[in-house]
Amino acid sequence: MTKEASDAFAPGKTPHFEESAKVSLADTQLRHNIGKATRSIREKRAVSVEELPDWQELREAGRALKERTMRHLDEYLLQLEESVTRAGGHVHWARSAEEANRVVAGVAKSHDAREVVKVKSIATEETKLNEYLENEGMQVFETDLAELIIQLAGETSSHILVPAIHKNRAEIREIFLRELGVDELSDDPKDLTNAARLYLREKFLNARVGVSGANFAVAETGTVCVVESEGNGRMCTTLPPVLVTLMGIEKVIPAWQDFEVFMQLLPRSSTAERMSPYTSFWTGVSKDDGPQEFHLVLLDNGRTAVLADEVGRQTLYCIRCSACLNVCPVYERTGGHAYNSVYPGPIGAILTPQLVGIGKQGSDSLPYASSLCGACYEVCPVKINIPEVLVHLRGRVVRYRKDEGGLKGKLDPENVAMKALAKTFSDRRLYEAAQKASRIGQWPLARKGSIHRLPGRLAGWTEARDLKPTPRQTFREWWKSRNGS
């Protein structure tokens, strides 16, 4: 899937989730890879979480800290700005993706940087920083192994944490042979990893500007934190003389000590490890150690709109662990591309439509990409009630269509159907009559106890699911006959 084809953050229409899901569902290799990956991480995570007897207390503290932060976000951001500045860093504010990209490009240009090394950051994917810098004549090197693979392949990520799980080793070998200028290479992951190490080492040593995202930034001290496994994060945030970090405004946390909560919640939820291999904390500029110029860009780009929705606000608590992706029965089957967003899975289904705004065909379909089973809420380390937000957003989408759509909205089949249903469900006689009618009407459709295809406009319902037919005797009829009334 190419970059242009699907992106809720790009102008223009993105496809409906069901359309994209069909494409993904037809790709058996993709389904196999995603299934294997999510199953494996899911099982390991459960073991890792089991180890902590105080997991529920940690979750509650994490949730509460985030709630506190969001309710007083203005104060915490001002405090963060002051702390970073005091420590020798520069803070920039960016209302939009464009504004953020301009700041980063400006810094890079002021140092005549032709090459920029980057550590995986979803915020910069959201703002399409790479494209922007390339248009400004710079070369951007993604240094996370998976990001490098998909960058070389010219594709987009399919999972927050393991963005290249849709590629197998043979495909990766092909890409490396083609793009890295190596002659001999086996498809052993060890050899493939070593090829990437050698290729990127040279980039790290020569880059004048490094770009990163942030997992957390502490208002009290100005300390920024990046959690990672491969060491490319350490490289990018240590070696280049200039470092620019782009973070969403919701990533701020109140105090240094609060890490005791988040650094227990994040690694176990995300990679199922007790602690990720490398975690870097830096505070502005340290004399003789690391970059001597540091810029922190605070990005809004729709986040304040999420903040304004009292139910949706909790979406901003997310620490991007991806545990919800790995337990989601919908994600497990469709993979990340079907969501047409840099934020896939259950969290993406609630974050994307709020960030880009209700009323866009593609992202409006995302709150429906769920069976509301609740597994995502159960694993969320900061207790985001994703099902609650999904239902809330479905309501906002339907209300939007009713209000904005005029006559067309009023005649929207879903609106009409919901109105008719509401009437039927609230009246006993109408409901019983409907059951009788459906039993008569369904006989040509039901096969072996289920309906695979509804006719006409109703076909949409059965496109991705089977329907149970109305039974020969309904519960109500059985109850009546039992009581002899």
């Binding site: 007083h72 960016a94 197998n168 990437a196 040593l205 405004i249 109140p254 007790r274 150690d289």
Partner: protein
Amino acid sequence: MTSAKEEILRRIRRATRDVSEGERPEDVPVERGYRKEDGASHEELVEGFTERVAEYEAIVHRISEEELPRAIAEACQRRNVERLVVPADLPEYWVPEGVEPLWDNENGRLSNEELDKSDGVLTGCSLGIAQTGTIVLDAGEGQGRRALTLLPDYHLCIVREEQIVGLVPEAFTGLKDTIKKGRAITFISGPSATSDIELDRVEGVHGPRTLEVLIVG
């Protein structure tokens, strides 16, 4: 024209109108019911630390103070280390004979190329976390700046038993002073690793591919 900063702050204040004027951040309750300290004996903590560091595929030895110089020399020999990066304030008696020390000090900073071409680095540490098998570096005594432990392919790290704490919260409490001084902190939990290709774990991507830890009692 309003600045981006003013506008974002205005948007935030409008978005949080439901929060009453008088509410302070501390008014939002945060229940910290989780464990703050491990009740185990110190020997149990050291054992736990040793076990977990080893689980990350790092090489671990427990030794006594007297054995330290010889243990360092043997480790260097096994790796054929000839040029060893050493932070300026590392105890000199730690550097084995027959190994060329590359001192990194204020008068002579090693270049990235020199670090890249060295055979390894020898450092102390700030803390060890038993709960997670994590080694904490904070640019304090015997540790040097961050690049020293990043570019060489081999990291030999000395952890003293008394530096080992139990739980993650104890570590963050212990690092408060470092943060006040503005120094950078790195948590190392085993050598770098990736599972990006078919979820097959490969040890050693960009950082030192071999991590060896000497725990000194």
